[in-house]
């Protein structure tokens, strides 16, 4: 077997994985930062409940969120039907559904990273900014957000990596359709189920490891750069 030759199916799985992971990262950004901020800075009734809900995907077997997504967002689900009728959007058994599934599973990691980053910012700086005339939104944008940037970046990379590895929720919600929802982990799984597919599975396993290492390496480099920027360089 040629290690450098990728079949069309393998290339499709790789590109799909990256597409799904990128979209997952993009759609997690705003809700992840908002939820992280809420949990770090605000006290409100139901905060422990929200905290638990956000973290559920971390502790549940991934098949459970996947099944719930299928029930709610599938073509027969309440939200799924509504989306279909109102906007003509279908999430069931296509790559968009795979994005939703992996975003849900990656969300706790994103929120934890953001919350930790925001909690480490001295809230008194935010008070100082407001006495200087900054509205709450401006304080958030000009003080909180830049100071939390390294943590947010970590969260995004974690979400990206988690999405690359997503298996259980994806296969339950959107199935294992070649070219549509068969990401790398699903492709590996498929090959292991086929007699004689071991070598192909191994090839994709190596690819997955390399991809994950690259993501972690880039994350580390970006974080160092952000930390250095915060510490020393000039504002402009």
């Amino acid at each position: 077997m040629d290690w450098l030759y990728f079949t069309e199916a393998e290339t499709a799985a790789l590109l799909l994985s990256i597409k799904v992971a990128l979209w997952c990262t993009v759609i997690s950004l705003i809700p992840g930062v908002a939820t992280g901020w809420l949990l770090a800075r605000k006290d409100f009734p139901g905060k422990p409940l929200l905290d638990s809900l956000v973290h559920l995907p971390l502790v549940l077997p991934p098949v459970v969120p996947g099944y719930l997504l299928l029930v709610l967002l599938g073509s027969q689900g309440i939200i799924g039907q509504w989306l279909q009728q109102q906007f003509g959007i279908s999430l069931a058994f296509n790559w968009k559904g795979a994005v939703i599934a992996s975003a849900l599973m990656a969300f706790p990691l994103m929120v934890r990273a953001v919350r930790l980053a925001i909690m480490q910012i001295d809230a008194r700086l935010e008070t100082a900014a407001s006495t200087l005339g900054a509205s709450k939104l401006r304080v958030f944008l000009s003080i909180t957000l830049p100071l939390a940037a390294p943590g947010i970046l970590t969260g995004l990379i974690l979400a990206f990596s988690r999405s690359l590895g997503e298996f259980g929720a994806t296969i339950t919600f959107v199935g294992n359709i070649e070219g549509e929802t068969r990401t790398l982990p699903l492709a590996i799984y498929t090959y292991t189920q086929v007699p004689g597919g071991d070598a192909q599975a191994m090839k994709l396993v190596v690819l997955s490891v390399l991809l994950a290492l690259a993501a972690l390496f880039i994350s580390d480099a970006l974080e160092r750069r952000a930390a250095r920027h915060l510490a020393s360089s000039s504002h402009d």
Binding site: T127, T131, L132, G133, I143, L230, S232
Partner: protein, 361 residues
């Protein structure tokens, strides 16, 4: 200028304070935990009282009865904290202009360049807060607050985290701000001499209440306040005129009114003004000049007022400047000191603490 009535209960702590003052600079003095910082948070609006009313220059910022509550960022009350609270991700220039760039051109009161010149921040502009010394950070914090064009500037122990040398560096700037900008200030400290450098108008706070406010000596002599100043150590702040003196002697000589004071060596040219602190309890009194004594300073003066409390007497003595002297009530009675008596105030050179001096005469 400022008028407030505030009522806040939080757990076991209750703050009930009201003030109505026209003074441009008010010093708020009180022991730690007396509620000074809480009062400031109420004024800026980061804390809400159960009941209250705040007016600054006739502008209503809070009136619980009328359901008026201007949010923090619209109150235009500047704040300088004990720690600079500079934004670590912005350089000095951007820290300074943070509030300025949020103002409409018509609301702006100072130009960046003017404040930079006033506080001598030019060489620091491109630096990051963590590269600055504590004193420099406080100067930037002062500038940043001023540039936001506050109608009232609150200073919450802005020098408490600085050592004496740095305090001496900041004090002249505070005086400059007071003299040159005309921004009304409420200066909070538990160090009375710091307050007295800036203003004679003080308010005293204890256990969540404002005990008194008005002219410093009047206030400090009142029955409730005197024990407080004694426990915190009452200090005199004097401004002296430096006379030429040889460095070999290790001491400098300066003029207090018409009389000479020998103080620790000051590295400044003759004619400069020197600010010194002398604790009221470090001064002894004698009925006449004493010869053959190691104490270098014997200032003649006249007793202007006497207040006694709890076996201690606080005397105000005119030696060309006002000097507060604290002795036991027993010595006062033994010496039979009365208002109008002339006395000699004795204090050692070492009892004098230098605060700072003008750079040139």
């Amino acid at each position: 200028m400022i008028e407030f009535e505030l009522d806040l209960k939080r757990g076991n702590f209750q703050l009930q304070a009201s003030l109505n003052s026209e003074a441009s600079v008010i010093g708020l003095f009180g022991p730690s935990g007396s509620g000074k910082s809480t009062l400031l948070s109420l004024l800026t609006g980061s804390l809400q009282p159960q009941h209250g009313r705040i007016l600054v220059d006739g502008r209503c910022l809070l009136d619980t009865a009328r359901r008026i509550n201007i949010p923090v960022h619209q109150r235009r009350i500047g704040m300088v904290y004990q720690e600079g609270r500079l934004f670590p991700h912005l350089n000095v220039r951007h820290n300074l202009s943070y509030g300025l760039q949020l103002l409409k051109p018509a609301q702006r009161r100072f130009k960046l360049d003017d404040i930079v010149a006033l506080l001598e921040l030019g060489p620091l502009l491109e630096q990051r807060p963590r590269q600055l010394s504590g004193g420099e950070q406080q100067r930037v914090a002062l500038g940043r607050a001023l540039l936001a064009a506050p109608q009232l500037l609150l200073l919450d122990e802005p020098m408490a985290a600085l050592d004496d040398r740095l305090k001496a560096q900041i004090l002249p700037f505070l005086r400059r701000i007071k003299d040159e900008t005309g921004v009304p200030m409420l200066y909070v400290s538990h160090a009375l001499h710091e307050i007295l450098t800036l203003t004679q108008h003080i308010a005293v706070m204890q256990a969540g209440r404002l005990l008194a406010h008005g002219d410093a000596y009047e206030v400090l002599g009142t029955e409730h306040v005197l024990p407080l100043t004694q426990s915190l150590g009452l200090e005199n702040l004097l401004k002296l005129q430096l006379l030429p003196s040889p460095q070999e002697s290790g001491c400098s000589v300066a003029l207090c009114g018409q009389q000479q004071v020998v103080l620790p060596w000051v590295d400044a040219v003759a004619g400069c003004e020197v600010a010194v602190v002398i604790p009221a309890s470090s001064i002894a009194l004698a009925k006449q000049r004493i010869e053959g004594i190691s104490i270098q300073n014997q200032l003649h003066g006249t007793i202007r007022a006497i207040r006694t409390h709890d076996q201690r007497a606080l005397l105000s003595i005119d030696v060309g400047a006002e000097l507060l002297v604290e002795i036991t009530e027993k010595s006062r009675q033994d010496m039979d000191l009365q208002c109008g008596d002339s006395v000699c105030c004795l204090f050692k050179t070492q009892a004098i603490r230098l605060l700072g001096h003008q750079r040139k005469a």
